[in-house]
C-alpha cells in the first residue's frame, strides 16, 4: 500500500468522522450509528499491508481520535485498534485477499473492537450499561454501517491507494 497517501486519507476521514457524519445520521439514531472511519482504514491496511503496519496505524489513529473526544479516558481506542489491527493482519496474512473474506473479518473485528472498548469503560466503571443492551443498541447497527462504508470505500482504495503491482497480483490470484 502507498502508506503516505493512506495516512493523509485517514486524517481527512478522521475530520469527516466528527464533522460530517453526525449530520448524516438522523436524530433518533445519533447514539446508535457511530462509525469509526479510521478503524475501517486500519482494517484495509491490515488486509493489504500486513500486521506490523496495521498495528502501528491502529495505535496512531486510535490515540488521535481518543485525544479528540477526550472526556474521561485516553487510550481505549488506541489499545483496541492496535490490538484488533494486529490480529486482523495476522489472520489475513495467512490467506489470499478476497472481498468476501475481508468483509467477514471487518464485521468480526468491529464487534471485537467495540466490545473491548465497552469492557475497558466497564473496568473503570465509567458505564453501567449491560453488555446485551450495548450489543443491540450500538454495536450491531454500527458494525453494519461500517460494512456498508467499507464496501463504498473499497473500489477507490483499491484503485488509488494500493500499489499497482500488488493489486494486479491480487487480481491474477483471484
Amino acid at each position: 500500500m502507498r502508506i503516505n497517501r493512506v495516512i493523509i486519507c485517514t486524517l481527512a476521514l478522521l475530520i469527516v468522522e466528527s464533522a460530517v457524519v453526525p449530520w448524516l445520521v438522523p436524530s433518533d439514531w445519533s447514539e446508535r450509528l457511530l462509525p469509526h472511519l479510521s478503524f475501517i482504514m486500519t482494517m484495509f491496511v491490515a488486509g493489504f499491508s500486513g500486521r506490523h503496519r496495521a498495528f502501528l496505524f491502529g495505535l496512531g489513529f486510535g490515540i488521535l481520535s481518543d485525544m479528540q473526544y477526550y472526556g474521561f479516558l485516553i487510550g481505549p481506542y488506541a489499545f483496541g485498534m492496535g490490538l484488533v489491527g494486529y490480529l486482523a493482519g495476522l489472520i489475513s496474512e495467512r490467506r489470499t485477499f478476497s472481498l468476501g473474506f475481508f468483509m467477514w473479518l471487518l464485521m468480526v473485528a468491529g464487534v471485537v473492537l467495540d466490545t473491548l472498548v465497552y469492557f475497558i469503560y466497564k473496568l473503570f466503571s465509567l458505564t453501567d450499561l449491560a453488555l446485551g443492551f450495548v450489543m443491540y443498541w450500538q454495536i450491531a447497527p454500527t458494525v453494519l454501517i461500517q460494512l456498508l462504508i467499507a464496501l463504498i470505500l473499497y473500489v477507490p482504495i483499491r484503485r488509488w491507494l494500493v500499489h499497482p503491482s500488488l493489486s494486479s497480483a491480487d487480481e491474477s490470484s483471484d
Binding site: 475530520i15 473526544y69 472526556g71 489499545f79 472498548v117 473503570f124 465509567l126
Partner: protein, 274 residues
C-alpha cells in the same frame, strides 16, 4: 503484556485529570480548526433540507411566536421595575460589589466544531478556548436549556461533556442540583441521566415536595458548578424513590443533544477575586 500494562497505566493516569498537556492541546486545536471549517457548512446544508420539510409548520409557529413576544413585552416592563427595585434594596442593605455581581452571568456564543464517535464519551467540540477566557467546569447551554459543561480547554478549542454523561451510578457522575421554577425555595433534587431510557432523572426529592408534572426544572446554583436559573427540562412523572424515603421524577430534557450548531457558554463573574 507490557503493552497491556502500559495502556492500563495510561488510561488510569488520564482518568480524572483536569489539565491538558501541550501535545493534546496541539492535536485538539489542529483538528478543531479543520472540523469547524467542515462542520458548519455541512450543518447549514442539512438544516436547509430539514427546513424544507418543515415549511408547512411555519405559519403555526409564527402564530405561537407572536403570542410569546406579546407576553415578553409585558414581562419586560414588570422585570424592569422589579430589577430597579431590587438594585435599590441591595444598595440600602449595603451589599458588597462581589455579592451584587454574583448572579450577573455573561453568555458567550460558541460554534460547534465536531461531535464524538465514541459511544461512552458524549462530548462535542466548540471553537472557544483558553484564549477567550474559557475554564473547565463552565456551563454550556443552548437557547432551549442546559447542554453540558466544559471539560477540557485548549488554546482555541474546548471539549464539552454533555449532560447525557451525568450518571450517578458510574465514576463519572457529577451532581447537578436542581429546583423548580417559581418555587425555588421549596423544591430540591439532584439530576442524573438514564442512558437506557434517554431521559433525565431528578432524585433525592423530599417527600413533602410540591413538585408536579409539567413543572419546569432549573439549576439551583447550589454546589457551585452550575450557575443559577438555567432550564433543564420539564417534569414528566413522579415516583417514590428506591428506599421509599425520597421521591424520583422523570424529566424530559429541554435541549436536544445532537445536531447542535451554536451553544452558549455561561461565564460566571469571577467570585475568587476579592
Amino acid at each position: 503484556m507490557i503493552g497491556l500494562i502500559l495502556f492500563i497505566a495510561l488510561m488510569g493516569f488520564t482518568l480524572g485529570r483536569p489539565r491538558l498537556t501541550w501535545p493534546e492541546r496541539f492535536v485538539n486545536d489542529a483538528f478543531g480548526t479543520a472540523q469547524g471549517a467542515l462542520y458548519r457548512p455541512v450543518g447549514a446544508v442539512a438544516d436547509f433540507f430539514r427546513d424544507l420539510g418543515r415549511l408547512s409548520d411555519v405559519y403555526k409557529e409564527n402564530e405561537v411566536l407572536r403570542r410569546t413576544v406579546a407576553k415578553y413585552t409585558q414581562d419586560q416592563i414588570r422585570f424592569n421595575s422589579l430589577d430597579a427595585e431590587n438594585a435599590r434594596l441591595k444598595e440600602k442593605l449595603s451589599f458588597t460589589e462581589r455579592q451584587k455581581q454574583f448572579n450577573n452571568y455573561r453568555y458567550m456564543i460558541a460554534q460547534v466544531a465536531g461531535a464524538t464517535s465514541n459511544p461512552y464519551e458524549n462530548t462535542i467540540k466548540i471553537n472557544l478556548g483558553s484564549r477567550d477566557g474559557l475554564k473547565p467546569q463552565m456551563a454550556v447551554t443552548t437557547e432551549d436549556g442546559l447542554v453540558g459543561l466544559v471539560s477540557r480547554v485548549s488554546n482555541f478549542t474546548s471539549t464539552v461533556t454533555l449532560v447525557t454523561s451525568l450518571d450517578a451510578n458510574t465514576a463519572k457522575g457529577m451532581p447537578v442540583s436542581a429546583t423548580v421554577q417559581g418555587r425555588e425555595t421549596e423544591s430540591f433534587g439532584i439530576i442524573e441521566y438514564d442512558e437506557q431510557t434517554h431521559t433525565l432523572l431528578m432524585t433525592k426529592i423530599d417527600e413533602n415536595d410540591p413538585l408536579q408534572e409539567n413543572d419546569t426544572v432549573i439549576t439551583s446554583g447550589y454546589g457551585g458548578v452550575f450557575p443559577k436559573g438555567i432550564v433543564i427540562g420539564t417534569v414528566k412523572s413522579k415516583q417514590v424513590g428506591d428506599f421509599g424515603l425520597t421521591q424520583t421524577a422523570t424529566i424530559t430534557p429541554a435541549a436536544k443533544f445532537d445536531h447542535l450548531r451554536e451553544v452558549f457558554v455561561v461565564v460566571a463573574p469571577d467570585v475568587e477575586g476579592p
